[in-house]
């Protein structure tokens, strides 16, 4: 492939990463890293660095719209970002030290795990709305994490409470670690964690995850940049492609039905998990 062909293909992939990423509350890195390493033959650490840049673009583009539309829980995001940024820095430092084969295998395993978690559960936005009567966790009260969001689909305001802040914090640290290590947004860990563990409604979880992903990726992106791992031409095409894709993706989410969002998410992760497993098996000869 000529360098120009590589760039155009990458821009196209980034467009779909931005589209899917913003729609599903993930950074799109789960598409971009395999695409760059396998199709475009980019070195995996450079692919991770470039993907992180794409993740920031997805997050900033999509998150801005969700924040404006009051889907994002800004306090919850701030609280969990403490964990994700620490995780992300650690992850990036680990990635710089370990051999490439470790990154391939971890990538496969993490995504498979995420697919399995997501397929198991089915819950809709309304079931996750406010339940009164129970005692609030003290930390939730102290941080006033409970919130409301406006659902365009139902034309209704949903009040919800947040559960298990400690567990959510721990999972977020892990999500940040994988983000910095593998160049993904970590949304596929954070969205289920917020929805299932912390009982945040799906749409608010997607929006909040998307919001956090940008800061998380920024915390590791510069570490890769300072090591000369960011290829500015590749990164530029990714940003431009993602920018176009997120503009479309966010329009889709605001109108989407919660059950559909969840369904697309589960199908997508399952397919990805299978693909990654197949690749992980073939990799021992390649790397």
């Amino acid at each position: 492939m000529s360098p120009v062909e590589v760039l155009l293909l990458l821009a196209l992939a980034a467009f779909f990463a931005g589209l899917g990423g913003s729609y599903l509350g993930i950074g799109g890195g789960v598409f971009l890293v395999p695409f760059m390493t396998l199709v475009l033959a980019v070195d995996i650490k450079r692919a991770i660095a470039t993907s992180l840049i794409g993740v920031i673009a997805t997050s900033s583009g999509a998150a801005s719209v969700y924040v404006r539309d009051h889907l994002t829980n800004l306090r919850l995001a701030m609280f969990l970002e403490v964990a994700t940024t620490i995780g992300a820095i650690t992850g990036a430092l680990v990635a710089l030290l370990v051999p490439a084969v470790f990154l391939y295998v971890t990538f496969g395993a993490v995504v498979l795990y995420a697919a399995a978690t997501m397929v198991r559960v089915r819950e809709t936005a309304k079931e996750r709305s406010y339940r009164g009567g129970e005692e609030e966790p003290p930390l939730v009260k102290r941080l006033s994490l409970n919130s409301v969001y406006f659902d365009q689909e139902d034309q209704a305001v949903y009040r919800y409470r947040v559960d298990r802040p400690g567990a959510g914090f721990g999972v977020s640290a892990a999500a940040g670690l994988f983000s910095g290590l593998l160049g993904v947004g970590g949304g596929f860990i954070k969205v289920p964690a917020m929805n299932i563990l912390m009982r945040v409604p799906m749409k608010a979880a997607v929006a909040t995850s998307n919001f956090m992903i940008g800061v998380t990726a920024a915390a590791s992106a510069f570490i890769y940049y300072s090591q000369g791992l960011v290829d500015p031409s590749l990164a530029a095409m990714v940003i431009i492609g993602v920018f176009t894709g997120t503009n479309l993706g966010t329009r889709l989410l605001v109108r989407a039905k919660a059950a559909n969002v969840r369904f697309v998410f589960a199908i997508f992760l399952a397919a990805l998990g299978i693909a990654m497993a197949a690749r992980a098996l073939g990799f021992s000869g390649v790397v």
């Binding site: 360098p3 120009v4 760039l7 840049i53 920031i56 673009a57 997050s59 900033s60 583009g61 998150a63 801005s64 719209v65 924040v67 404006r68 009051h70 994002t72 800004l74 306090r75 701030m78 609280f79 970002e81 403490v82 940024t85 620490i86 992300a88 820095i89 990036a92 430092l93 102290r142 941080l143 409301v148 406006f150 034309q155 209704a156 305001v157 940008g214 800061v215 990726a217 920024a218 915390a219 590791s220 992106a221 510069f222 570490i223 940049y225 300072s226 090591q227 000369g228 960011v230 290829d231 500015p232 031409s233 590749l234 990164a235 530029a236 940003i239 431009i240 920018f243």
Partner: protein
């Protein structure tokens, strides 16, 4: 028929009012964050497109190595494609960082100590990432 329509209208008004009430409190911060994130991406894309125009105009090769922040300004003065493409990437990386800084100021304005502390930790983490290996 008319009564039904009026009823629906009443419900819609109620929802709109409720939405305004919810939205009113947080409108300023949310708007600001929206503009920062959106603006950062737009500036980044504009700078990158200019970088690609320079590649074409100078018939230069596509750069495959980013410019270290230290030597960025000389590169920009000379209008090198690598300089502008790197700048675009750096603007994008800086965008969420600026957002966190604004969140910090907004929490400080509200006198919300707990969240000033938390946002401060996030900001310190981001600064660590910038200076750790630079």
């Amino acid at each position: 028929m008319i009564a039904a329509r009026a009823g629906i209208r009443l419900v819609q008004d109620r929802i709109a009012a409720l939405r305004r009430a919810v939205v009113g409190e947080v409108e300023d911060t949310n708007r600001l964050i929206y503009h920062v994130l959106r603006g950062g991406v737009l500036v980044s894309v504009a700078v990158l497109l200019f970088g690609f125009i320079l590649v074409g105009a100078k018939s230069a090769a596509l750069p495959d190595h980013s410019v270290p922040p230290r030597s960025l300004i000389p590169q920009l003065v000379q209008f090198t494609p690598a300089g502008f493409l790197s700048l675009g990437v750096l603007v994008l990386i800086a965008t969420p960082m600026v957002r966190v800084l604004l969140s910090l100021l907004s929490f400080a304005e509200d006198g919300d100590r707990t969240y000033v502390l938390m946002t401060g930790i996030v900001l310190v983490n981001l600064l660590i990432s910038v200076f750790l290996l630079a």
